[in-house]
Symmetry: C2
Subunit: 209 residues, 2 copies
């Protein structure tokens, strides 16, 4: 069993953004590594038979207040981007290619920058030139990234990532799996920290201090 | 504007049960009173266009783990009752009558006892004799309570309670409204406490220390 934290997210999820600002520090404090796994909420919600919150008016009315409050109490800059929500395919595809071509650490840094650009500064991270600019700032050449965004193999790999997540029981984001245990939501990072500190008792295994 | 905490719940909601064990202590610590407001999730979810979690398999699979973990980490006894979930009309009707006939404090104590009986001990709190027994232990005569459970006016008043909740934007439980601000979920009690301690700055109002 992996000791990493699998961190499933969609770039369009505000709660995933909030979690993205905390997950690396949390993992490091417990000697874990984060595996950043971009997926598409539209694919997850179809498979699970759930609704996307912005399309449930009474819930969305509340959630907008909750997001503002959750961000404020956590001290995280946040505002809903213009035109929210929209289907964001490009950053997930870019990250998929970056992970394969430049390594997971570069891809994760790219993801964090995209999240902040979108939810703190209102930048359109579905725009290919914007993504090329972000990658360029990290030393990644623009041309191969722009080509990757049109590459059918990259598109297929990103599509497959959502299917793989569904197979792990992921139905929403942010979703964290560690030591086989699942945690859903920015508001479960505290429980994730508690469980990593005090793992559930194992039957038939002697525990040491 | 009321300074009370309006606490909306359905007796069938496990997260509302968890909140029911904490809400009075939390309110008292901030000099507030709790107004216990039983509603029906089936009515709320129909109005809001949401789904009841136990009928969304992937989500329910996760939520069962989350409930066990949330209860364990909070130190609250919990197990899913036999035959869960079921439509619980009787305890809400009983409480509606108790509040009118014996006062809100008696009704609230009855609600807390019902919650514990259901989610800690697996007692069938839809059974009229069970409810009469719980009320009897609080000094309420059995016969008028049993009669109230068949009273059309009581039934109508309990139905109306869900409509009144919907008018306040309530789409799920537990749902707390205090000083005009809404909080949804057992996992928002911490934010509720923080906001009561440090109210959001009011424009044009001088704040004192």
């Amino acid at each position: 069993m992996s000791t990493d934290i699998d961190f499933y997210f969609d770039f369009v999820s505000p709660y995933a953004y909030l979690a993205s600002t905390r997950i690396e520090r949390l993992a490091a404090a417990h000697g874990r590594k984060v595996r950043w796994k971009p997926v598409l909420m539209t694919v997850l919600s179809k498979a699970a038979g759930t609704q996307l919150t912005p399309f449930v008016p009474m819930k969305w009315q509340y959630v907008q207040q909750d997001l503002e409050r959750s961000a404020r109490l956590a001290g995280i800059p946040f505002r809903l981007p213009p035109g929210f929500p929209k289907l964001l395919l490009a950053p997930g595809r870019a990250m998929t290619w970056l992970a394969a071509s430049h390594g997971e650490d570069t891809a994760a840094a790219f993801a964090r920058t995209c999240f902040t650009a979108y939810f703190s500064d209102g930048v359109d991270i579905n725009d290919h030139e914007v993504l090329a600019g972000i990658a360029s700032g990290m030393g990644v050449a623009r041309a191969p990234l722009l080509a990757a965004l049109e590459d059918e193999a990259v598109k297929a790999a990103f599509r497959q990532a959502s299917e793989d997540a569904i197979a792990q029981g992921v139905f929403g984001v942010p979703f964290m799996i560690v030591d086989g245990e699942s945690f859903w939501g920015f508001d479960r990072l505290d429980q994730l920290a508690l469980v990593m500190k005090q793992p559930a008792p194992q039957v038939g295994v002697d525990g040491g201090d």
